[in-house]
């Protein structure tokens, strides 16, 4: 019988990844907002990255399945919207994993102040590290990413955009 502590649960949850970014655990993404332990229930409180994130259902099922397989019983998953998820909650390890996977991690600081036209953020290419890059579209393969291309190594890449 496993000892039920928040730390043990959190450690187990590191095995659950976002199905759209399989290198990143939901813990490193900052999706776990709270873990509540009562006498006979474990409540995991999560928050979605984007309102329409299609991965949320799968993530919820994965949390339940993973905890159960690791000996945690009576688990309930609750979703909260506030405070709204921000890319600032990505852990340092998460940022590193994104980079190694070929996705440029979000620039630091929540608010994207470069909202004026033609003032795109400087995003380094995850392949060759060049900052000679260009945004192709603010909307990419998933809700949380923008599309960029590198003018030096000519590779296209995803940028995990700030929200």
């Amino acid at each position: 019988m496993k000892k039920i502590t928040k730390e043990a649960i959190l450690e187990t949850l590191e095995k659950v990844t976002d199905p759209e970014i399989p290198v990143l655990s939901i813990v490193d993404m900052g999706l776990i907002r709270d873990i509540q332990l009562t006498e006979n229930q474990i409540e995991v409180v999560i928050t979605p990255t984007y309102s329409g994130c299609p991965a949320m259902n799968v993530i919820e099922i994965e949390i339940l399945a993973t905890l159960q397989m690791n000996g945690f019983e009576n688990v309930k998953v609750t979703t909260v919207l506030s405070p709204a998820w921000t890319t600032d909650w990505l852990t340092e390890r998460g940022r590193q994993q994104l980079l190694e996977y070929g996705i440029a991690p979000p620039a630091r600081g929540t608010v994207d102040k470069h909202v004026l036209f033609q003032e795109d953020r400087v995003v380094a290419c995850p392949q060759c590290n060049s900052i000679n890059t260009k945004m192709i579209s603010q909307f990419g393969s998933t809700a949380c990413k923008a599309m960029y291309k590198c003018n030096d190594c000519l590779e296209p890449f995803d940028y995990f955009k700030c929200i």
């Binding site: 994130c53 919207l81 579209s137």
Partner: protein, 250 residues
């Protein structure tokens, strides 16, 4: 008060759902791949926001209806979306103008709703605001690029504005629902949003070399459930599957 909150929440959810559905019709038909993906990403955000609003509306109503029941099992007269949201896609110019007029409203609206005394509406607004920031940037940029583009793109954009303008008055229309909820600090006084919206529209149209129509006549009805002929066709497509196969699961 409870029925006003239900009506208000439905209105917000329905507008996002219907315009989101409209955008989703572009899937696979966008002018280039990047813009196809962008429109669908925006559609996904809007349908996601709709889900949050409708889920909450169901809780407020407390008659056991969830977001799916509300989206798929109501008839057109029960929908509270603004008429602008249901207007057809026509061409890319039409879609961009419809989106810009909508986004320019949503942005300042959600900024204020984020401080509503209703904690759940405030939470949904805080979340949505981050997404709408990107939508408004996208539709503003395309409005400028196409308005101040070739003679043909300019003409298409101006035609879209002229056609859609009569649906913008409803953005700021308030009913008894608003009055009741404003008193409780829940709803937003739309008279406050109007000048901000007008300023944004004016600024972007100016840069896009587009003109604001001089006509003052405005179409109305969506917030009371009186819709244009388009909504019925949207619902027929959107609701077909869950109505034909009520317990269908993925």
């Amino acid at each position: 008060m409870k029925s006003a909150l239900f009506d208000y929440t439905l209105r917000l959810g329905d507008s996002s759902l219907i315009i989101g559905h409209r955008l989703s019709e572009w899937c696979g038909h966008g002018p280039v791949l990047e813009q196809d993906i962008a429109l669908i990403n925006i559609a996904l955000d809007l349908v996601g926001q709709a889900k949050s609003f409708l889920e909450y509306a169901g809780k407020v109503e407390a008659k056991g209806r969830d977001e799916d029941a509300l989206a798929y099992h109501r008839i057109d007269r029960d929908f509270r979306n603004i008429l602008l949201a249901e207007q057809p896609n026509e061409d890319f110019a039409f879609t961009i103008i419809r989106q810009f007029l909508f986004d320019a409203f949503q942005y300042p609206f959600y900024q204020r709703l984020a401080k509503s005394k209703d904690p759940q509406l405030a939470a949904i607004a805080q979340k949505s605001l981050k997404e709408v920031t990107y939508h408004l940037r996208f539709s503003s940029e395309w409005t400028i690029r196409l308005g101040d583009g070739t003679p043909e793109s300019h003409e298409k954009m101006q035609t879209a504005i002229n056609e859609l303008w009569a649906f913008t008055g409803e953005l700021f229309e308030m009913t008894e629902t608003d009055e009741i909820l404003i008193e409780h600090g829940i709803a937003i006084d739309l008279n406050e949003i109007k000048p901000i919206w007008e300023q944004k529209v004016k600024a972007i149209f100016k840069e896009a070399t587009l003109e604001i129509p001089t006509t003052n006549w405005m179409q109305s009805g969506g917030k009371k459930g009186i819709h244009t002929e388009y909504l019925g066709f949207i619902l027929a497509e959107m609701q077909y599957l869950p109505r034909a196969f009520p317990d269908a699961k993925w």
